[in-house]
């Protein structure tokens, strides 16, 4: 009943979904760490903007001739630190995307390798606990696409930032937030629910 081809594809799928489960956690925690960083980036941009709006020579601060430059330097330095930290977070998001992509393409390659010995029945056959191979391959591709797109969009938000365009930096937190899509994340959770029995089953026995 269970041919060697089916069981080897099953094993690879099980491994990929376990990896996906892990990646979802890493992704979520990296994103949670990003939001306070973006908030402080937006805050620093607001401060810089306020500094540009104020003519210091008309205020009691006129006694410090180099204050504006010094404060601007400090603000830029602080922004730089925050951007550096965001960059670290972005690379952990990237590594999540990379592992999911490599798993998804690896499983697909394995399936293509065995495609001749897997007939339509074997690919679409499912039981109460094990979804069909075709479904699972599809879900894995869905998850891969979700993380790939999410990563690109978030990277684009950060790459668009320029210190000479403060309103862009100021609005970055909102744009970052607008990328959050609960339904897409729920899809991943949904997929993981659908394969939960399959992940727990002991293959190869």
């Amino acid at each position: 009943m269970s041919t060697p081809a089916v069981s080897s594809v099953h094993q690879a799928l099980q491994k990929s979904f376990k990896n996906l489960e892990n990646c979802q956690k890493v992704w979520k925690s990296a994103l949670t760490e990003c939001s306070p960083l973006l908030e402080s980036l937006g805050n620093l941009a607001e401060q810089s903007k306020a500094l540009s709006n104020v003519q210091l020579s008309d205020t009691p601060l006129r006694v410090f001739p180099d204050l504006e430059d010094r404060l601007r330097f400090k603000l830029l330095q602080a922004m730089d630190t925050v951007l550096g930290k965001l960059n670290d977070k972005l690379s952990s998001l990237q590594s999540v995307r990379d592992t999911i992509s490599s798993h998804a393409s690896g499983v697909l390659q394995l399936y293509e390798l065995h495609a001749d010995s897997l007939d339509l029945l074997a690919v679409t056959e499912r039981s109460a606990t094990t979804p069909s191979i075709a479904d699972m391959l599809g879900w894995l591709q869905d998850a891969e696409r979700h993380y790939r797109q999410q990563f690109l969009r978030r990277k684009a938000v950060l790459q668009m930032l320029r210190v000479d365009n403060l309103s862009l930096v100021e609005s970055a937190p909102q744009r970052w937030k607008s990328l959050e899509s609960a339904s897409a994340e729920d899809c991943i959770t949904d997929i993981l629910c659908k394969v939960s029995f399959f992940m727990e089953s002991e293959l190869g026995k």
Binding site: Q47, P60, L61, F64, L67, L71, F73, K74, L75, A78
Partner: protein
């Protein structure tokens, strides 16, 4: 081998059982470190009080234009301003103690000039720095803190009387980011601590 063991003993003598001028400098540098930590803490506390002041002031002025002012607002604003004044007084105290440290450092230099002539002592008390360099470093640090205190005094005087949101934001970011206290200060302090053996080489 012999040279090595001699190095170790001279290191010990310099760092743990120091006496006289070296001991005094070493203690002064530890005080610098503690004062700067204390300053940072006060700066943080001051910032949160100053932002309370700004928020109260701005919400007051927006309420004034729309309806009658809340009765408790003014008292609370006064209360926060007093708190800020209190923190500022403590910061002035910190800078006064920094000045004392600098004076003590100058005294040590003068003592050396008296003991060894205008050239100072031949071999350094610690690793490489001579007493004049300690005075220079302390003076540099002290000057930046004096500027900071001047800036903070203006902020303290003005922050509750400003209705422009932008200027308030500038006051707050001046308080938080300490434009006259560059990152170089931190490195200077680390250099002092390294030289006097508080930090392992």
């Amino acid at each position: 081998m012999e040279g090595e063991s001699r190095d170790v003993t001279s290191f010990n003598r310099k760092c743990s059982a120091v006496t006289g001028s070296a001991r005094k400098i070493r203690d002064n540098m530890a005080d610098w470190h503690n004062l700067m930590l204390k300053w940072d803490k006060l700066n943080e506390d001051g910032f949160s009080v100053a932002s309370n002041v700004v928020n109260l002031r701005l919400s007051q002025s927006s309420q004034l234009s729309s309806s009658s002012a809340p009765p408790g607002g003014a008292a609370e604003l006064q209360d926060q301003c007093c708190k800020l004044q209190h923190i500022f007084d403590k910061m002035v105290g910190v800078v006064t103690r920094m000045e004392n440290l600098m004076t003590s450092q100058r005294g040590l230099r003068d003592l050396e000039e008296f003991q060894f002539g205008p050239e100072g002592r031949q071999c350094p008390l610690f690793h490489t720095w001579d007493t004049k360099e300690f005075v220079g470093a302390c003076h540099f640090l002290w000057e930046s803190f004096v500027q900071e205190v001047k800036l903070k005094q203006i902020i303290l005087q003005e922050v509750a009387h400003t209705i422009s949101a932008d200027l308030c934001a500038v006051y707050l970011s001046c308080w938080l980011h300490q434009p006259f206290n560059p990152a170089h200060n931190r490195h200077m302090l680390e250099a002092l601590l390294l030289e006097t053996g508080h930090r392992p080489l």
